[in-house]
Symmetry: C2
Subunit: 390 residues, 2 copies
């Protein structure tokens, strides 16, 4: 079997929305299709991938460097020993040839985009949803019927006051979510506390998480820590600059409640340095490394191994992203739970259409691969890649 073509497409996914650090209006998302010569139901198996949320399409890196390496490889070197499916790890090694160690970032997004499409194809060739394929081949626990999910929201936007914020939060509860995350740090502390009060009138504080998106310096982190501590929040996310591990450790000494971070550490090695130096506490803190932004599933499996070697349970992993990839790895690899972006970051955010979300859990799709074909706005986008046969 072989990969016959890889196609790519970049689209604007901008939204008038911001958090404490970022304006999302110019955001783009990259999509790729890995076309194989394996036929299922009379059609070639096509794997799809997309770049994660909150950064930019890295398809130029895919196109300029990684796709040519894959297409130039002897197909035998990319398949499993049985010769009946892709070996995603062999494809990963192939596309990362001639890349220097260190200096991750956008390259990690590019690799993850392609990696996603390769795994989508591999699971489709195996005729399984990705979570099942992962659990069978790389998992350590049975696949649950449903996984814990929380919703990311509570953004700042022009003209958005407390009533609109409350309406949004009520909508999330109506949708079946129990744990809700809102943005902080994009307004002065006094105003953020009013926003928190408004939301806590609807959601109990132990089901409310807050996310500063790395905004705070040492002084602000301590001020917010002091102000948030009495509230008993679910977690306090990314208070400081993602690479400032000393600051993270100071906050962990100062703030007794659960902390969460990791979405902007784009490799196993950066994640390892967080665990080495960041002072996080395995019994209560959350690790949010984003598979779609950090070299993909191949690297995520290495990250999980690393996390366990450092004495953490993989249940402390709650991957960032709020999309199908995070759902599949959470279910298939036994992670603690996943984020959801049902309305933001479209067409990438959220899961397959009609998937049940209730009591803070989300069900699992029963479609081979990641199930892109069951999320209509995403699949409409993916069809624009032109990889589907007529």
């Amino acid at each position: 079997m072989r990969i016959t073509d890889i196609k790519d497409l970049t689209l604007s996914t901008g939204e008038k929305r911001s958090n404490a650090m970022m304006d999302f209006s110019d955001m783009t998302t990259g999509f790729v299709a890995v076309v194989t010569d394996v036929v299922r139901d009379g059609r070639p198996v096509i794997g799809y991938g997309f770049s994660g949320t909150g950064r930019y399409s890295q398809n130029a890196i895919c196109r300029d460097r990684m796709i040519p390496r894959i297409m130039a490889a002897d197909p035998d070197t990319l398949q499993n020993d049985a010769g009946d499916n892709l070996d995603p790890f062999r494809v990963w090694d192939c596309m990362m040839q001639k890349e220097k160690p260190g200096g991750h970032g956008d390259r990690a997004v590019a690799a993850a985009t392609l990696d996603m499409a390769v795994w989508d194809a591999a699971a489709k060739i195996a005729g399984q949803p990705l979570y099942r394929y992962l659990a069978d081949n790389y998992g350590k626990s049975p696949v649950p019927d449903r996984v814990p999910v929380y919703v990311g929201g509570g953004y700042y936007a022009p003209g958005r006051g407390l009533p609109e914020l409350q309406d949004e939060i009520r909508g999330h509860l109506d949708d079946g979510f129990v744990v809700v995350k809102m943005k902080i740090g994009g307004a002065p502390l006094a105003e953020d506390l009013k926003r928190l009060d408004a939301v806590m009138a609807i959601v109990p504080s132990d089901n409310l998480a807050v996310d500063a998106n790395g905004r705070f310096d040492h002084t602000a982190a301590m001020q917010y820590s002091d102000a948030l501590a009495p509230l008993g929040l679910r977690w306090f996310e990314e208070p400081g600059f993602p690479l400032d591990f000393d600051l993270q450790a100071d906050i962990a000494r100062h703030y007794d409640g659960p902390l969460a971070t990791g979405e902007n550490l784009l490799s196993m090695w950066d994640a390892k340095n967080l665990l080495r130096y960041g002072g996080l506490r395995p019994e209560k803190d959350y690790l949010q490394f984003d598979c779609a932004l950090s070299y993909g599933i191949c690297e995520y499996i290495r990250t999980i191994d690393m996390v366990e070697e450092h004495g953490w349970s993989r249940q402390r992993l709650y991957p960032h992203g709020g999309h199908l990839l995070s759902l599949h790895i959470t279910a298939g690899l036994g992670l603690g739970g996943t984020e959801a972006y049902p309305r933001t970051h479209q067409p990438v955010g959220g899961f397959t259409d009609g998937l049940t979300i209730a009591d803070g859990y989300v069900g699992l799709p029963d479609i081979p691969g990641l199930g892109f074909e069951g999320k209509s706005n995403l699949y409409e986008t993916l069809k624009r890649l032109g990889a589907e046969p007529d």
Copy 2:
């Protein structure tokens, strides 16, 4: 004054050559031209930039994200208070809008490419070589007549034996270099020691540095440390994975001679974590952060400040890269010395044509900006951007 256009070009700069980790055959370099409406000698001032050596062109990131931000900005917001030149820091802030913190890598190369062209234009508008412009505006010491330089070489290549290695090294000494760096780690230890013996027959060991390009795990790093320690080498460079700060600290405890690292840490924050956790010794070790790969001069000035805040002298900085940018920042900002790539990484490697290299020092070009116009093979490339008026 305003930027009227930004052009870009990517070229293959592949070479059949490798070190312990990397095959350079598919390498590309990106070039950009920042065209201004400022006229000098009857022609518009054009600033040029290139992506650094040993990674890949990031012009797609320049073109997709950073150039549009610069071109969309109100020109007044990009110039200095006097309105007579670009303010490179304001341009930098503009092009980095809407970029998430953390996750550096290729983005750092893209930003550095544009940053270089902006500084080239600013120094040309001021009518000064860049080192003079930096020293006048951001330096702390007088500009020297010449700066210490060492040559990077001693690569592995097919069919290259000890006689060819010795010939290369003799050529470097004939060129006026005194300190020479050679690659190790791409062959078994016993073979590397034979290569070292061959080179030490020509260069005294205290003028010979070795570079493992991040290849060694803990065991290999200790084996090489033990084998190299008696030789009294100038320095032992990048023994382990660039983000493995614990390994670096272990090596610093084990190996008494000077160590050097940093070329694959692509931001001030990664550099800071090296100083925090890497166990390096300010009295003898070398820091080799590469300005052209790590967000450019604006970030490098912040890195220098950070290095000094950590109790290091800026003289311990020996920027990687071996090109004109490293030369200018070394001279203009008072760093310890610079690498040179007179024959490799063309057309980017090396300095202006005919620049004197003698007794281990390199003179300084007397051309406004970085002096690209005085390096013929590089300037021929830059002219292909089509930014020069007819």
